[in-house]
């Protein structure tokens, strides 16, 4: 009679249905191989520090001092910490009620939320209310909290781009909702066509789904495209007309590798559009310390800002946040530092700028190296990585390869990626983990491996790919576009 309460069969179906490929089959296989001694290059997740990117010095100095405040009493502290780091540590400690070890306000330290609001105001040119900003243990937690408020049952649909970052599909699954896909246009640089949106919504509604919200990831993940202002206006107009909450995942806003389409926040565009729409569209914007040039994934720091959400709903969201008591305080300080970094004249300013620029300029170069590298491979077509941290090449798998995959019981792009892993140690995520059009295959890799190692990695990939294409090649039957 024992253990019947937790057999696999009786587990929550929503859990069983949810998938998260980023740490799924490929990653697990790569980890196994690593244990066996094979050199693995993990490009499966946007995890810059794991691939050699160094943390920025200034924030680490500040947080270390906050971690061990007794250091601040030591007269020699000025010998190994710059004065501005010491001052900033004292500033953040004064914002807490008991240092890093005390629960903060469930929404995050008011002082840090104020700094975030000021950052948003400087960035967009419109005021921001700290009361409508909640800090969270990473942006992912914020996304989950918000979707949890929106999704009531299976009839609630969330518009999600395809390809998408599978946090969205996994969370919608876990919450028992329905994912309503809208396809990005690969031939148009992963552009967003409002007609596709309309079609997706109409189809969902005809199936009895109430479409509640729309997710945009800007810059995109895995696709990297940066939305134009015109595009954002269309989207906001669409959300207004269809009465959808817009969820703006903007975690890659610092990662822009072209100059034609700089980052512009959804909030700014909304406010620019003026009344009545600026008072009607409900918008929730997400940001993080994990990406950008900070790459502080392990801290778990993020926030969301709510626009046009009614006060009582805000209270309910606060209530749910309060059950988890508070986001971790160290990460809140990282967030404060990110939104108010060293200024010209500060002792640490030059070093900070040097480090930041170094990272961003290198990312820009790596985006180009990777895109060009993929495009030089047989049967591989790759859109340029305009932003974010990923490359998402299309692999035109020959029909023989697709057959072999079927025989091996694998989805075709999983088959390809596993072979790539075994041959080269490069661990990627198959495109099926993100969603793609039927019969079109991709893989996602990051642009994060060290610049010095990139040429070798791209050579290794090219060698594998071109051999694979020869092995399974025929001159007809490429996978359709």
């Amino acid at each position: 009679m024992s253990l019947k309460a937790l057999d696999y069969e009786s587990l929550n179906e929503n859990v069983k249905n949810c998938q998260y490929a980023v740490r799924g089959e490929l990653y697990l296989r790569a980890s196994e191989l690593q244990k066996e001694g094979k050199k693995i290059i993990f490009t499966n997740v946007g995890n810059p520090h794991a691939l050699g990117q160094k943390p920025l010095t200034f924030p680490r100095q500040v947080v270390a001092l906050c971690q061990a405040p007794f250091l601040l009493d030591n007269p020699n502290i000025g010998m190994i910490f710059p004065a501005d780091a010491i001052a900033r540590a004292k500033h953040y400690l004064s914002l807490t009620s008991g240092g890093l070890g005390a629960y903060s306000d469930s929404r995050g330290l008011p002082g840090v939320r104020k700094e975030v609001a000021e950052f948003i105001e400087r960035r967009d040119g419109y005021p921001s209310d700290p009361e409508l900003i909640f800090l969270t243990d990473g942006a992912s937690k914020g996304v989950m909290q918000i979707l949890n408020c929106i999704i009531r049952n299976q009839k609630d649909g969330i518009l999600v781009p395809v390809p998408q970052y599978p946090l969205y599909s996994a969370t919608i699954s876990l919450l028992g909702g329905t994912l309503v896909p809208y396809y990005l246009e690969e031939t148009d640089n992963w552009g967003l066509d409002v007609n596709n949106l309309r079609q997706s919504v109409a189809q969902a509604r005809s199936q009895g789904i109430t479409v509640r919200a729309m997710v945009i990831i800007n810059p995109g993940n895995p696709t990297g495209q940066c939305l134009s202002e015109a595009n954002l206006r269309e989207i906001l107009r669409f959300c207004c007309d269809e009465r959808l909450v817009l969820l703006g995942d903007e975690v890659y806003q610092q990662n822009i590798y072209q100059d034609e389409r700089p980052f512009i926040s959804s909030k700014k565009v909304l406010m620019d559009m003026g009344t009545p729409i600026s008072k009607e569209v409900q918008l929730i914007s997400f940001h993080t310390v994990s990406k950008g040039y900070w790459g502080e994934c392990g801290q778990r720091g993020g926030y969301f800002e709510m626009t046009n959400i009614p006060p009582r709903t805000v209270e309910e969201i606060y209530k749910v946040a309060s059950i988890a008591l508070s986001p971790n305080v160290s990460a809140q300080i990282f967030m404060g530092l990110m939104v108010s970094p060293p200024k010209p004249g500060d002792i640490s300013y030059d070093q900070f700028v040097r480090e930041s620029k170094g990272i961003l300029e290198s990312l820009r170069r790596r985006a180009r190296i990777m895109t060009d590298g993929f495009n030089s491979c047989k049967n591989v077509v790759c859109n340029f990585t305009e932003g974010a941290m990923y490359s998402f090449p299309q692999i035109k798998l020959p029909s023989k390869a697709i057959q072999a995959a079927k025989q091996a019981g694998k989805v075709p792009d999983v088959f390809y990626c596993l072979k790539l892993l075994e041959a080269t140690g490069i661990s990627t995520v198959p495109g099926s983990g993100f969603g793609q059009k039927e019969g079109v295959f991709h893989l996602r890799t990051t642009i994060l491996p060290a610049e010095e190692e990139m040429p070798e990695i791209m050579d290794s990939f090219k060698k594998f790919n071109d051999e694979f294409m020869s092995q399974y090649g025929d001159n007809f039957g490429y996978s359709r576009m």
């Binding site: 309460a5 587990l11 971690q67 020699n76 010998m79 994990s290 392990g298 006060p311």
Partner: protein, 542 residues
Amino acid sequence: MRRFLISQAKTLADQIRRQHHTSRRFLSLLPSLSPPVPSPLLSLSRFLSSASNMSASDSTSSLPVTLDSINPKVLKCEYAVRGEIVNIAQKLQEDLKTNKDAYPFDEIIYCNIGNPQSLGQLPIKFFREVLALCDHTSLLDESETHALFSTDSIDRAWKILDQIPGRATGAYSHSQGIKGLRDTIAAGIEARDGYPADPNDIFLTDGASPAVHMMMQLLLSSEKDGILCPIPQYPLYSASIALHGGSLVPYYLDEATGWGLEISDLKKQLEEARSKGITVRALVVINPGNPTGQVLAEENQRDIVKFCKQEGLVLLADEVYQENVYVPDKKFHSFKKVARSLEYGEKDIALVSFQSVSKGYYGECGKRGGYMEVTGFTSDVREQIYKVASVNLCSNISGQVLASLVMSPPKPGDDSYDSYMVERDGILSSMAKRAKTLEDALNNLEGVTCNRAEGAMYLFPRVNLPRKAIEAAEAAKTAPDAFYCKRLLNATGIVVVPGSGFGQVPGTWHFRCTILPQEDKIPAIVNRLTDFHKSFMDEFRD
């Protein structure tokens, strides 16, 4: 203008919500299988329906994410620890800054939440040394560091960094947490229990609370799935069950016998739930208890383990207060140790043990560190747990490091050992002392009885409210214990949580007060509390 409107709407919304919530909370914590409902409820339920008509401020109903269209499970869940009374206290605190003379006290003392470092408790120095070195690893290359940090903290930091690929503390780790840290924790569990622990059974989480949520998510598919919870309980459980759409099946702890747990009562509640078509999936035990503070006797624990095995229940053992035991006649025994001592292995019982860095003598709430040790699950279930953990990628690294330090603190012979022990013993003995002082003070109040705090961080006195007070509460449209607590707050600045936030036998009233204000504040707290209670009773005595 927008800000003004929002604050106006907020005030009105606050008022409505307060009334709405009070009556709803009063109802919601009445378990469906409890003793008969007393009559005051009927009038409150009438009020409940009229309150929901008063939503004039929410005229934004044309917008998609309004209260009408929000997930009803979110609306249903409650969490009193940071609820209404705390909001009032925060407003008072703001006002005190400019209006000192308007109040009979000059500070708010937050006794509502187990947040030691917000009330002056200092962190353990060794732990913070290691964390600082891990945060800013270039310190380890500086010669001055040896003058600023203890030798063993430097050694430990090196050891930990060597367990982190690339020494990158800013990278996402394995979704269960860094392997080397799990090894350390497993070794610590083994040293504590005398039975082996497997690092692969450990999931490091951002505090124990997310781990509890994960388990609820796995176990609960619908309202037909039930979780046995102690009443009174820490409302994370009731809230989490509500959020995941399950049913809370209560079992009452017996106040008269020091909050004892009777297996016969467990069995009765289980059977009643089953007869109503509920599949009871798990049993939650909080040991040491929150809010009740009792430490279970080992024999009691054996009975509980046997019960779970017999009935096929997952045992969810919340052991976050394992280092907080204040009485010489009780000792903490982990449920894992108890199970293994009965020779129950992986095939006999499914057990999930929760631990946190927030409590104990370390009190590192803001770091969000914790873990669950998951045993007795088949591998296909384990994979699902891993999958859910992976969606959030990993818990914060600093919290992971701290969890490993908590489970393997300095040992005799280590440089920091002596000072560490002084800090640790100082905090724990002070907690024991404060627990006793406050317990005695509460027992001296007219109509108040308070069980001793054997462990944890709280006192949960029972207040025999006179009839007149209950009537006044009704007239104020507030639950009687909330009425008392608000009066207490307004008279003394002391913030406690009404017992209805935790659940109690209907018709009894309690509040939860922490033992955490620093020792020098305790006499003033006792005096103010005593004076307040006397005048309250003078006003309402029958």
